[in-house]
């Protein structure tokens, strides 16, 4: 699992209509006990029987019928694909083109239809080095898609360098190594060290520099966006904070 966590749309959810909000095992056990006791007692009137006895109420705005019609309308394949991408986006996942190609032989045609469908304009894509990734910008921000694309491409040195540059330009800030241990990266210390080793030896990453704060926290910054002195001041400001070193 890419991000190592459960997300809506990616876990099998069994619908238990009796308990629409939460399933609490203790409550279930208690209910089971009670039902055993109740079954031994006199049977109570059935709720459905009771409801059947009630008079019908006129559906003034025909909402039930309209609902039926709506449900009966079939979605196009493009809409179904859009729905699939939306669900994944809501779960913080990009949808790679390569994965779709495995499932859908007429993918290009489908994507073409999708791009023309007015109801699917939230479906956009971002190009990585290794794939093209689709997402719904209704549920996933463009900036997050950029991060997720880098993570999906699994090029850690590039991911680290790009994010250090982006953070330096955008906020601006220096980027602590521990940033990459958080969601959505979840890199281990060993992975980060290996990536840093490669960054140090590649010309394309020569702007990426490292500093260590007074409390031994390591930060990266890009010389394209800030000087060492300024980066250090920002990093020390974070670590020293309001009360002193954490």
């Amino acid at each position: 699992m890419l991000f190592g966590r459960r997300k809506e749309g990616f876990t099998k959810v069994e619908k238990v209509t009796e308990f629409p909000k939460e399933i609490n095992e203790d409550i279930l056990k208690e209910k089971e006990k009670l039902s055993n006791i109740e079954s031994k007692e006199q049977e109570k009137p059935d709720l459905l029987d009771y409801l059947d006895e009630l008079e019908d109420v006129e559906d003034l705005d025909n909402s039930l019928e309209n609902q039926d019609i709506e449900e009966a309308e079939e979605k196009t394949e493009a809409e179904l694909l859009a729905e699939f991408i939306r669900i994944r986006s809501k779960g913080a996942y990009l949808t790679s083109k390569s994965s779709l190609e495995k499932e859908e032989p007429k993918l290009e045609e489908l994507l073409d239809n999708l791009s023309k469908d007015e109801g699917c304009q939230d479906i956009v894509y971002i190009k990585g080095d290794k794939d093209v990734y689709y997402y719904s910008n209704e549920f996933m921000s463009d900036n997050y898609a950029m991060i997720a694309m880098l993570v999906e491409d699994k090029d850690m040195p590039r991911t680290i360098a790009e994010m250090v540059r982006w953070n330096g330009k955008t906020y601006p800030c220096a980027t602590p190594l521990y940033y990459f241990k958080n969601s959505p990266y979840f890199y281990t210390d060993a992975q980060i060290e290996r990536a840093l080793g490669r960054i140090r030896h590649k010309e394309e990453y020569s702007d990426i520099c490292e500093l260590t704060t007074g409390n031994n926290v390591r930060y990266l910054y890009s010389t394209i966006h800030m000087s060492e002195k300024y980066a250090r001041a920002l990093a020390e400001g974070v670590e020293y904070g309001e009360y002193g070193y954490r």
Binding site: P176, Y179, R246
Partner: protein
């Protein structure tokens, strides 16, 4: 008589005469509530010559029209009284969250005036309109946890309680009051109650706050929750990237710290993952603040049970822990706090800390022990000054010099050196029980300097972080907000407690984004780049005035200044802009009167000027001063001399410039309508605010600017 918002009554309890009376709130309406009512009553009734521990001294505990109204983040109360520990001994406030403010409002009171002195230990029982003074002999001498537990057991679980600990009973200046759910109000209020032999109070209210337009209130509240509210400190972007969010705080130090994979391992039923909390999803707002992670990093998850918070607040900023390594030292393991007690106990260990079970858990475990100790003894830390005073005096040899040899040798320093959590309990006990010379640390920094002849130079030491020479430290000052932050830091008689700007600057939002939002309102040049500030300008002074007077509003209304004002929003469709008219919208919905931001600013300015006038009078009485600029607003040398490798205004520093800061004061005084020579409000300003009677008072005392 109750009106919309206000309960309509003020409870006045005299512990000398055992008299219990109620008065009409309406005569204080210009002062709104909370801090405003408190200041008016103290000014009218307590001569500023009064010693804070004298019978004539009073504590005014007050709420505002929004307290208990259902407005989000309105679970706070304000206590006003005379300071026992700062230069000038002027007016100060303690602020307390939790649930007890609601209880008092629901019992039918906007304020409670504690006056006189009891002959024996008592506590006040507020049970709707049945108010009694009860014997407290059986809880006198007990810590707050035990005292609160007993009071709740004796009176019933529907009561909330608040008590002082041994520090307050023993008249330790650095003392506070703690509620039965662990909220504290500091500034030395514990000893004021202690001087009155009042252990605390319990409250149960079964009434309500009348709302003029409940439908509108619901709509404004929903709007706030859907579009405006962020995480703790109203930080408007998450600390960790979330899929719906454009931005996050790469350093991970902003306070919207709940994130996928983070949570509470000791939660009932197993680990709770705080997940993502998209804007607009109001059911997930409660998962945004993971204060434990913010304070202590990933190790906090191991000991977190859940997050808690105040009545009416969707932001659960109280980290609740079960820190079981403490059991090995026979110390309590259940800890809940959100502020300095759970952050800053490591400073009691000048020789460093040692990990307990896991790498990096030392500070968390020590803070757990320290938090319980200071809260139980009711010791207030003056925003970390008491720890810093101890630490510096230990490392610089002052303690060895000032303490009698016998006492010094009796102190179990080995516990400190070993990083033993029992050390923090022991040092807190000694100070709270006024045991030995070392307990002078409980006098507060200003009086400690006098007592031990440490000289003015002591307050110039950077480590000690004093923001004036009056005895209190900075609190989100120039390190966040350049001249602007420093200006409002020096306005009070305690640490400033203003979060208007740190809520923005530390939000994690891109600089250019929040700069535009603020400069659209306050003008070009009002906002500087992080760690790269520019010379003072008029718009920074306007910004400082907005933050300074606005904080008073929150302590009048009452609203939580850690959340309000809603300057930023997490909503991209709003361009991340909050809503500075929100407070007025709530006032209109709750009170039924038409409130505008201008009305709120006027009321806020009024009470801000009361603070200034009372400070001027107190400084005149106790220091012979006729000039607050010179005698109150002076900034210690370290603020200008730190970071020797930098020059002021250079990229990478917040080292301030002396001349520029004098310009800043002048501009700020001008914005406030104060005399630039003395920093004292002019008659014109006071009369504009309906405070002509204060101008008369200043004139009689020879303090009114020409």
């Amino acid at each position: 008589m109750a009106t919309y918002g206000w309960s309509g009554k003020i409870l006045r309890v005299n512990f000398t005469t055992n008299s219990i009376k109620t008065e009409d709130t309406s005569k204080y309406k210009d002062y709104i509530g909370g801090m405003g009512i408190g200041y008016k009553i103290i000014y009218d009734e307590v001569p500023l010559e009064t010693h804070p521990y004298d019978e004539a001294s009073k504590v005014v505990l007050a709420m505002g029209p929004l307290t208990g109204s259902g407005v989000p983040c309105s679970g706070r109360l304000n206590m006003s009284f005379l300071s026992s520990w700062t230069k000038g001994y002027s007016i100060v406030d303690a602020h307390m969250g939790g649930h007890i403010a609601h209880a008092i409002k629901y019992a039918g009171y906007d304020a409670v005036i504690f006056e006189g002195k009891a002959s024996k230990p008592v506590y006040l029982k507020i049970d709707d309109d049945k108010v009694t003074i009860e014997d407290a002999s059986h809880i006198w001498g007990k810590g707050t946890f035990e005292a609160n537990r007993i009071l709740v057991e004796e009176n019933g679980e529907s009561f909330d309680a608040a008590t002082i600990g041994q520090a307050g009973e023993n008249l330790v200046n650095m003392s506070c009051m703690i509620t039965s759910v662990g909220n504290s109000g500091g500034a030395g209020v514990g000893a004021i109650f202690g001087s009155k032999k009042v252990k605390g109070f319990v409250a149960r209210g079964t009434g309500s706050v009348k709302i003029a337009d409940p439908k509108e209130l619901k709509e404004v509240s929903d709007y706030m929750l859907r579009e405006l509210v962020g995480g703790n400190n109203n930080h408007n972007v998450p600390a960790v990237p979330q899929s719906w969010a454009e931005y996050s705080a790469p350093s991970g130090t902003n306070r919207w710290s709940g994130a996928p994979g983070r949570g509470w391992q000791k939660a009932e039923g197993g680990f709770v993952d705080m997940g993502e909390q998209p804007v607009g999803d109001i059911d997930k707002i409660g998962y945004r603040a993971h204060k434990g992670y913010f304070d202590h990093g990933a190790i906090a998850d191991k000991y977190m049970v859940k997050v808690g918070g105040c009545s009416s607040c969707p932001i659960r900023c109280y980290a609740q822990y079960d820190i079981d390594p403490l059991a090995e030292y026979d110390l309590p393991t259940k800890v809940s706090n959100t502020c300095m007690p759970i952050i800053y106990q490591g400073a009691w260990y000048p020789e460093g800390l040692k990990d307990f079970v896991d790498e990096g858990d030392a500070n968390l475990v020590i803070c757990g022990a320290g938090s319980r100790a200071v809260d139980d003894y009711g010791l207030w830390d003056n925003y970390g000054n008491i720890q810093r005073d101890f630490n510096y005096c230990y490392t610089s040899g002052i303690l060895k010099e000032k303490l009698p040899a016998e006492e010094y040798n009796s102190i179990p320093w080995d516990l400190m050196k070993e990083g033993d959590p029992r050390w923090v309990v022991e040092i807190v006990r000694r100070i709270s029980m006024k045991e030995g010379e070392i307990s002078k640390l409980g006098l507060g920094t200003y009086l400690l300097v006098k007592e031990w002849n440490l000289g003015k130079e002591y307050l110039d030491v950077e480590y000690l972080q004093n923001v004036t020479y009056n005895g209190y430290p900075k609190h989100h000052s120039s390190e966040d907000v350049w001249q602007t932050g420093l200006l409002y830091n020096i306005m009070y008689n305690r640490d400033c407690m203003i979060h208007h700007m740190t809520n923005v600057i530390q939000s994690g939002s891109p600089y250019e984004l929040y700069k535009k939002i603020l400069e659209d309102e306050f003008g070009e040049g009002a906002v500087d780049k992080p760690k790269h500030y520019t010379p003072m300008n008029r718009n920074k002074a306007k910004l400082a005035k907005w933050a300074f007077i606005g904080k008073q509003w929150h302590d009048m209304a009452t609203l939580c200044n850690w959340m309000y004002p809603m300057t930023l929003s997490p909503s991209k469709k709003r361009g991340y802009k909050g809503d500075h008219d929100l407070d007025a919208k709530y006032m209109t919905a709750v009170t039924g009167e038409k409130w505008s931001r201008k009305d709120i600013d006027l009321a806020s300015e009024r009470v801000s000027n009361m603070l200034r006038v009372m400070t001027a009078i107190s400084f005149n009485i106790h220091e012979g001063s006729k000039n607050l600029r010179k005698d109150h607003d002076t900034i210690p040398a370290w603020v200008f001399d730190k970071e020797p490798d930098f020059k002021p205004f250079e990229a990478g520093t917040v080292k301030m410039d002396r001349e520029d800061m004098e310009t800043a004061k002048t501009m700020f005084y001008e914005e406030m309508g104060w005399d630039v020579e003395t920093g004292i409000p002019t008659r014109k300003t006071l009369e504009r605010l309906g405070l002509g009677y204060m101008a008369d008072d200043l004139e009689k005392r020879g303090l009114l600017p020409a």
